[in-house]
C-alpha cells in the first residue's frame, strides 16, 4: 500500500510535463506484480460439481486491463447505437452493453488457441479475441476493410486465427457447431477447449440437447455458456422455460451458476470449466447477466421490462462500476485517472469510426467472391443473368 501512495505522489509533478499514458505505465511498472485478493459478489452454485472458491487473486495490471477493455466495449456499443440511428449501420444490430464482464472475464481465463463461438450479439467477443475497433466499425458499416470485408455485417464477425468462429444468426445453431469445434480439438489431440455461448432464449433449442448428449457421450472438451440476460427478445425467461435454472438443464452434465456482471467470477468459472472440460468432458456455465439495450436496435427494450429494473441493475450491478470501485478502493488509480482513460477511449472510438467512414464500399466484383473456396471457373449470375455474369474463381 505504501508503494502505491508513493507512486501517486510521484505522479503529481510529472503529469504536467509528461503525456498521461506514459505516466500510467510508470505507475504500473512498480505495481503489476502485487497480488490483490478479491471476492466474487456471490458464491458459485454448482450442479453435480463442487464449485470453485469465491476468492481470486488478481493484480493491479489485470484490474486496469479489465477496466480499459470493458470501457472500450461499452463505448463501442454506445457508438454503434448512434451510428445505427444515423443509418450508417443497417439491418440488425444487437448490442452487448451490460454484458461486458462475460467477454472480458472469459478472455482472462483462456488462450487464443481455445475456441469461442457465439450467436449474433458478437461485437464485444470479437474485440476480446483481438479484433480491432476499426475492423468492427468498418464491418458494421458494410465497408471493404471490415473484418468480413463488408459481406457479413453485425451478426457475422469472425477471427479464425484467434479462435473466434463467429457470429451466427440462427438461434441455437452455434451450440452444435461449438461442440463440433471441441470434437476437432479432441480429435487432433489438442489440449484446448471450445466455449459455445448462447442466450436464455436459445437454451430451449432441441439441437443444443442433441449436441450436448454427444459431447457427454464422447467426453468432448466443450463448455456451454448460457449468457442469461433473462429475456429472449421480448419473452422473459419464466415465460419461455419451465425450468429457468439453465445451469441445471444439462441434467447429467455438471453446471455452475455465475454472477455474469462480475468479471472475476466469470474468470474463475471459466478457468474452472476449462480444467473440468479437459479432464471430464462438457460443463455448463450459466452467466447471470443483463443487457441495457433491447434485444436489437429495433427493440426499445422497455415494453417487457420496467425502466426501474434497467436502472436498478445499472446502479447495483454494472460490471464496469464494480471494477472502478475495486480500483479505487485498492488505490490503484484515482477517479480522475479513470475518467481520463475513459476520455481516451472515447477518442479512440471516435477515431476508429472516422477511419471506418473513410473505407470504401466493397467493389461490385465482391458480390461473386468467396461463394466457394474452389469455384472451378463456374458461372454465376446477377439479378439479370443476361446483364451480370461472373466466373467464380
Amino acid at each position: 500500500m505504501a508503494l502505491t501512495h508513493r507512486s501517486t505522489n510521484l505522479l503529481k509533478p510529472l503529469s504536467a510535463a509528461v503525456p498521461f499514458t506514459s505516466s500510467l505505465r510508470r505507475l504500473f511498472s512498480t505495481d503489476d506484480a502485487t497480488a490483490i485478493t478479491v471476492e466474487t459478489s456471490v458464491p458459485f452454485t454448482g450442479h453435480k460439481c463442487d464449485p470453485p472458491p469465491r476468492t481470486i487473486d488478481t493484480t493491479p495490471k489485470e484490474l486496469m486491463t479489465f477496466f480499459r477493455d470493458m470501457a472500450t466495449m461499452r463505448r463501442m456499443e454506445i457508438a454503434a447505437d448512434s451510428l445505427y440511428k444515423a443509418k450508417l449501420i443497417r439491418g440488425f444490430c444487437h448490442l452487448y452493453d451490460g454484458q461486458e464482464a462475460v467477454a472480458v472475464g472469459m478472455e482472462a481465463a483462456i488462450t487464443k488457441k481455445d475456441c469461442i463461438i457465439t450467436a449474433y450479439r458478437d461485437h464485444c467477443i470479437f474485440l476480446g479475441r483481438g479484433g480491432t475497433l476499426v475492423e468492427a466499425f468498418t464491418e458494421l458499416m458494410g465497408r471493404r476493410d471490415g473484418c468480413s470485408r463488408g459481406k457479413g455485417g453485425s451478426m457475422h464477425f469472425y477471427k479464425k486465427e484467434s479462435g473466434f468462429y463467429g457470429g451466427h444468426g440462427i438461434v441455437g445453431a452455434q451450440v452444435p457447431l461449438g461442440i463440433g469445434l471441441a470434437f476437432a480439438q479432441k480429435y487432433s489431440k489438442e489440449e484446448h477447449v471450445a466455449f459455445a455461448l448462447y442466450g436464455d432464449g436459445a437454451a430451449n433449442q432441441g439441437q443444443l440437447f442433441e449436441a450436448l448428449n454427444m459431447a457427454a457421450l464422447w467426453d468432448l472438451p466443450a463448455i456451454l455458456v448460457c449468457e442469461n440476460n433473462h429475456y429472449g427478445m421480448g419473452t422473459a425467461e419464466w415465460r419461455a422455460a419451465k425450468s429457468p435454472a439453465y445451469y441445471k438443464r444439462g441434467d447429467y452434465v455438471p453446471g455452475l451458476k455465475v454472477d455474469g456482471m462480475d468479471a472475476f467470477a466469470v474468470k474463475q468459472a471459466c478457468k474452472f470449466a476449462k480444467e473440468h472440460a479437459l479432464k471430464n468432458g462438457p460443463i455448463i456455465l450459466e452467466m447471470d447477466t443483463y443487457r441495457y439495450h433491447g434485444h436489437s436496435m429495433s427493440d426499445p427494450g422497455s415494453t417487457y421490462r420496467t425502466r426501474d429494473e434497467i436502472s436498478g441493475v445499472r446502479q447495483e450491478r454494472d460490471p464496469l462500476e464494480r471494477i472502478r470501485k475495486l480500483i479505487l478502493s485498492h488505490d490503484i488509480a484515482t477517479e480522475k485517472e479513470l475518467k481520463d482513460i475513459e476520455k481516451e477511449i472515447r477518442k479512440e472510438v471516435d477515431e476508429a469510426i472516422a477511419q471506418a467512414k473513410e473505407s470504401p464500399m466493397p467493389d461490385p466484383s465482391e458480390l461473386f467472391t468467396n461463394v466457394y473456396v474452389k469455384g472451378f471457373g463456374v458461372q454465376s449470375f446477377g439479378a439479370d443473368r443476361k446483364e451480370v455474369r461472373a466466373i467464380l474463381p
Binding site: 459481406k151 457479413g152 477471427k159 457447431l177 476437432a184 439441437q207 449436441a211 454427444m214 474452389k374
Partner: protein, 378 residues
C-alpha cells in the same frame, strides 16, 4: 472381345468375311462402350464397393477425414457402404451417432470449421431435413459471410430419392432443393466409376458437398477400368458425361434415371431415333455448356428426373437451354419427372409415381415428331 477376334485371325483359322462382319458388330458395340469411356477391362464393381473403396482410400490418405452418422460403425453401415471401416480406422474416425441429425450435422460442420474433413452420412436424405439449417446456413454460407476466413470442407452423403415401397416420407429427391443453394456443391453419381471418382473429389474438395446416392443402385455392378481403380482417381466436379452419343434428341438424367435413359435410348434407336444421353453427375455446378452444346447439335431436349416436377432440376435445365440456345430448339423441351404427389405405397401407384422407361421413350418421340397429336385433355 476385340482381343479374342484378333488372336483368332493371327492363328489364321478364321474366314475373312466372317471376321469382317464380326469386327463391324464389335465396332458398333464398342462405339457405345467407347462413348461410355470404359476401357475393355473385365473387372466389375458394385456402386456399394465403389463408395466403400473411395471412403477407405481417402481416409487412408488423409488422417483428417472421418466418417460420422447413424450405424456407420458397428452396424457396418445401414446400407453397408461403410463396411469394414470401423475395424480398419477405429471408433475415433468412424463415429456412430445417436439419432440426432440436427446435432451431429452441426457437430460435423463445427469440426470442419476447425480444419477436419468430415463425411457425414444421412441414413437417407429425407432425414437431412432435420439438419438442413446446418447444411445451408452453417455450411454453405460460411465462406461467403466470413469473406473466406471460415471454409467448410464437409461432405454430406447418403441415399436420395425413391427406393421401393418405402412410402411418402422416405422417398423424396432433394437434388432440386440443395441444387438451388449457392455455396453448396451437389453431386449425383450413377455408375461405379461416378461413385468412386465423385466421392473422392467431394472429400478432397474444400467446399461443402451434398453427395446424393441412390439405394437401388448400390447393388448394381458396372465395369471399371484400371484407371478408375487407382487410388488417385478423381472425377472433375461440374462436368457432365455423355454416356451415349446421338444426334436426334438430347436426354439429360442423373442417378438412377441415367440407366433408364440409356435403356430408353436403346428402344429409340430401334425406331430410328438416335438419342444422346447426358449423365449430369453434377447438379451444382450444373454443366450448362455440355447440355447446351448437345442441344445445339440435336435441337431437341428431354429432361429426366425422379423428383417432384415443380421447381425441379429439369425446370432449371429447360430455362438454361431456352436462355442460351433458343434458336436451336426445334421443339418445346419435354420434362419427365416424378408425379406431383407424395409417394404412394401400393405397387401399382408407386410405379405411376416414378418415371418409367416408356415415359422417357414417349417424351423423346414427342420431341421428335411435333405432328403427333397431343392426347386430349379433360
Amino acid at each position: 472381345m476385340l482381343g479374342i477376334v484378333r488372336r483368332r485371325i493371327a492363328r489364321g483359322g478364321v474366314n475373312a468375311s466372317i471376321v469382317e462382319q464380326s469386327l463391324q458388330k464389335i465396332r458398333n458395340q464398342s462405339l457405345i462402350y467407347a462413348s461410355r469411356s470404359y476401357s475393355s477391362a473385365s473387372k466389375e464393381m458394385t456402386v456399394r464397393d465403389a463408395l466403400n473403396s473411395a471412403l477407405d482410400e481417402e481416409m487412408s490418405a488423409d488422417p483428417k477425414v472421418f466418417v460420422m452418422g447413424e450405424e456407420v460403425g458397428e452396424y457396418q453401415g445401414a446400407y453397408k457402404i461403410t463396411k469394414g471401416l470401423l475395424d480398419k480406422y477405429g471408433p475415433e474416425r468412424v463415429v456412430d451417432t445417436p439419432i440426432t441429425e440436427a446435432g451431429f450435422a452441426g457437430i460435423g460442420v463445427g469440426a470442419a470449421y476447425h480444419g477436419l474433413r468430415p463425411v457425414v452420412e444421412f441414413m437417407t436424405f429425407n432425414f437431412s431435413m432435420q439438419a438442413i439449417d446446418h447444411i445451408i446456413n452453417s455450411a454453405a454460407k460460411s465462406n461467403y459471410m466470413s469473406a473466406g476466413q471460415i471454409s467448410v470442407p464437409i461432405v454430406f452423403r447418403g441415399p436420395n430419392g425413391a427406393a421401393a415401397g418405402v412410402g411418402a416420407q422416405h422417398s423424396q429427391c432433394y437434388a432440386a432443393w440443395f441444387g438451388a443453394c449457392p455455396g453448396l456443391k451437389v453431386l449425383a453419381p450413377y455408375s461405379s466409376e461416378d461413385a468412386r471418382g465423385l466421392l473422392k473429389a467431394a472429400i478432397r474438395d474444400p467446399d461443402p458437398v451434398v453427395f446424393l446416392e441412390n439405394e437401388l443402385l448400390y447393388g448394381e455392378s458396372f465395369p471399371v477400368s484400371a484407371e478408375v481403380l487407382d487410388s488417385s482417381f478423381c472425377l472433375p466436379i461440374g462436368k457432365a458425361k455423355i454416356e451415349r452419343e446421338g444426334k436426334d434428341v438430347t436426354i439429360t438424367a442423373f442417378s438412377k434415371m441415367v440407366g433408364y435413359a440409356l435403356k430408353a435410348a436403346e428402344i429409340l434407336a430401334k425406331e430410328g431415333i438416335s438419342a444422346e444421353v447426358i449423365n449430369l453427375r453434377s447438379i451444382r455446378p450444373l454443366d450448362r455448356s455440355t447440355i447446351n452444346a448437345s442441344v445445339r447439335k440435336t435441337n431437341r431436349l428431354v429432361t429426366v428426373e425422379e423428383g417432384f416436377p415443380q421447381h425441379g432440376v429439369g425446370a432449371e435445365i429447360c430455362a438454361s437451354v431456352v436462355e442460351e440456345s433458343f434458336e436451336y430448339l426445334d421443339a418445346p423441351v419435354e420434362r419427365i419427372a416424378g408425379a406431383d404427389v407424395p409417394m404412394p405405397y401400393a405397387a401399382n401407384l408407386e410405379r405411376m409415381a416414378v418415371p418409367q422407361i416408356e415415359d422417357i421413350v414417349r417424351a423423346a418421340k414427342r420431341a421428335c415428331y411435333r405432328s403427333v397429336p397431343l392426347a386430349a385433355t379433360a
